[in-house]
């Protein structure tokens, strides 16, 4: 018994020692890398800035940088610049980075069996919008590792090649647990051109049954919800027709909610009777459609909105009152309060929120 106890205590002591050692080494490595980056910044920030601002030629900037080829440090040094600049300055930066050899270095790392190295390479090549990496990124996308999928999808979307749109959407919707917001945020990296392609997909789906389901191998409502969120993000007016068609055909609650959220952002009227949505069983649909009414100034729904002021759900009442405010129905709101009609509390709240003084005539 005593021998076993002693052995256990030895193992514990050794494990503790090993753990402390690992922590110290890890910490020192981090500190060393941070110091290297600081030194690199002090040495080359002004050179890179001058090059980006066209005060220095590519050759000159390259001559300075080529003697100090610590690629790990260089990557961390260039990353903030890649995030900061776009258009012409970004392109200039890309040329310099390529000439230094960072693209080639990280392209080789993409093949690495070390997951950490391959992911860092994928992320960086995505930032550099390096098209030559697309094939290898697609291989990462096809893996079953969640982090590999998201990192490669993010990199592909930053490169922005629409021919990879389908595998990216398919992987995200089938193999990750990302929310609609997360998926949409990633897909909008492809750029506004994505919207026409999505409209094309939806039109085909409206013609051919289960087109989207067969293409992306997941539920139709999930695919449509993401597509619609993207239209909303880009405030894409050309999508109105297709949204209208989906609303007329689709009865899925999730899709309807996403459509109204997108419509609120796009701010364009649609050719469909909105009353059915204001009276829908789902409070989210009622609230979002009430909000939309205010955005498009659809005054013909004023009466329905005044009923919604005392809806059983707080948000429905709130958006109904907000829409009445936006449509300048202040007199109606004042009368509700004056006569203490149902909806008084919500009208008072929204008027106060908009700094409207009830005792005076105006704001």
């Amino acid at each position: 018994m005593t021998v076993y106890l002693k052995l256990l205590i030895y193992i514990l002591s050794f494990s503790s020692f090993f753990l402390f050692l690992a922590l110290i080494i890890f910490h020192l490595r981090l500190k060393y890398l941070e110091k290297q980056i600081e030194l690199f910044k002090a040495k080359y920030s002004s050179i890179v800035e001058s090059y980006i601002n066209q005060e220095l030629t590519l050759e000159k900037a390259f001559t300075y940088l080529e003697n100090d080829k610590n690629y790990e440090v260089m990557k961390k040094f260039f990353k903030p610049y890649l995030n900061k600049y776009d258009n012409e300055k970004f392109d200039r930066l890309k040329v310099l980075i390529k000439k230094i050899g960072l693209n080639d270095y990280y392209y080789k790392k993409l093949n690495s069996k070390n997951k950490k190295k391959s992911l860092k390479a994928a992320s960086f090549l995505g930032k550099l919008e390096d098209r030559s990496a697309l094939n290898k990124l697609e291989k990462l996308l096809n893996s079953n590792d969640r982090l590999k999928i998201i990192t490669s999808a993010w990199a592909i979307s930053e490169i922005g090649d629409l021919s990879y749109l389908k595998p990216v959407i398919k992987a995200l919707l089938n193999k990750s647990e990302m929310t609609y917001e997360g998926t949409t945020e990633l897909l909008v990296n492809f750029g506004e051109n994505i919207c026409d392609k999505l409209i094309d997909y939806i039109n085909k789906d409206l013609k051919e049954k289960d087109y989207l389901v067969n293409k992306f191998e997941t539920d139709e409502y999930k695919i449509l919800s993401v597509f619609i969120d993207i239209f909303g993000f880009y405030r894409y007016k050309k999508s109105i027709k297709v949204l209208e068609r989906i609303l007329k055909k689709n009865t899925n609650e999730e899709v309807t909610i996403h459509i109204f959220k997108a419509l609120v952002k796009i701010g364009q009227p649609i050719n469909i009777d909105l009353k059915q949505f204001l009276q829908n069983d789902s409070w989210v649909i009622r609230s979002q459609s009430a909000k939309y009414i205010g955005v498009i100034d659809a005054t013909e729904h004023t009466q329905t909105l005044s009923y919604l002021l005392y809806d059983e759900n707080w948000w429905v009442g709130y958006y109904a009152a907000q829409s009445l405010w936006k449509m300048n129905k202040i007199e109606l709101m004042r009368n509700i309060i004056k006569n203490n009609n149902p909806g008084t509390e919500m009208c008072s709240y929204v008027l106060a929120q908009n700094n409207y003084n009830l005792n005076m005539e105006g704001t």
Binding site: L5, L19, S123, W154, M178, E181, S348
Partner: protein
């Protein structure tokens, strides 16, 4: 007889020592790899850049305050400076007997506000709701004393956003902390709650509500507390979380999906461990 009893106690103590240390060392290893994994995630997914877009979830920060006259204004100023696109702050004055309310009124130009809200969770009576005219995102609830859980519940009732974040009135929040704590809610739809790491700021250099320099206190009791917090947060909770067995999200800094919080019945008002009790109920 006595010798045998003492020997038995000895063995129990040694076995306890071994079990607890094996658990701690195991958690340390798990947490070490988990932190490294998170570092990699942060690097490859670039969270700072990502959350500058409109795809964050808006957040209601609830700050329960009871007799916090010394720290409340400084800490609120630090919360107001947080780097997050859309949030509101709801301070709940839980029947303070000192000058907490007076300080808030003086510092933030409060005026009474008729804010309508759902009484999803029952709380002690609310005396007044105020809105700051200098900081439109700041609201104050002045209510009868009911304890921390009750104050948090009142804040949840008033909150207007889908995520609620509880913050202690004497805590300082790192400027990027909100971005980091909300990231799991965007990356994984299954996440219902997330907790942050809490550390001791005694003796650290604090300027404008921000920790400028981390320093260790000279008092041994505080040093012990520093070690205890490192144990509890850096390897305890991180370790348990990676094993999907986390039983507590600190009441000092945690974020919850509001609908789940309400569904679980809010915070329990009859316990001092309302944070742990809530996580247990959410797990069920």
């Amino acid at each position: 007889m006595l010798r045998n009893t003492l020997l038995t106690i000895d063995y129990i103590a040694i076995v306890y020592f071994i079990i607890i240390n094996i658990t701690y060392i195991f958690l340390n290893f798990v947490a070490f790899f988990s932190i490294r994994k998170n570092q990699l995630k942060e690097e490859v997914l670039d969270i700072e850049k990502r959350f500058s877009s409109e795809f964050y979830k808006p957040l209601s920060i609830i700050v329960p305050a009871y007799n916090e006259q010394e720290t409340i204004t400084d800490n609120l100023k630090s919360i107001l400076k947080l780097n997050y696109p859309e949030f509101e702050i709801i301070v709940v004055n839980d029947g303070s007997t000192d000058n907490t309310m007076k300080k808030l009124k003086e510092e933030f130009n409060l005026k009474t506000f008729n804010r309508s809200y759902n009484e999803d969770i029952e709380t002690k009576q609310i005396k007044n709701i105020y809105k700051s005219t200098s900081h439109p995102e700041l609201f104050i609830i002045d209510k009868e004393n009911g304890g921390k859980g009750d104050a948090l519940n009142a804040g949840v009732n008033l909150s207007g956003y889908p995520l609620v974040c509880n913050v202690d009135a004497d805590s300082l929040i790192d400027s990027k902390a909100l971005l980091s704590i909300v990231a799991p809610f965007v990356n994984d739809w299954r996440v219902v709650a997330a907790g942050g790491t809490v550390r001791i700021a005694n003796s650290s250099k604090v300027q404008d509500g921000k920790v400028k320099e981390v320093r260790l206190s000279k008092k041994y009791l505080v040093r012990m507390q520093v070690i205890e917090y490192l144990r509890a947060f850096l390897f305890g909770r991180v370790g348990w979380a990676s094993l999907n067995s986390l039983l507590i999200i600190s009441g000092a800094f945690g974020v919850f999906k509001k609908k789940h919080l309400i569904k679980a019945g809010g915070y329990n008002t009859n316990t001092v461990g309302e944070d742990m009790e809530l996580v247990l109920r959410l797990n069920r």
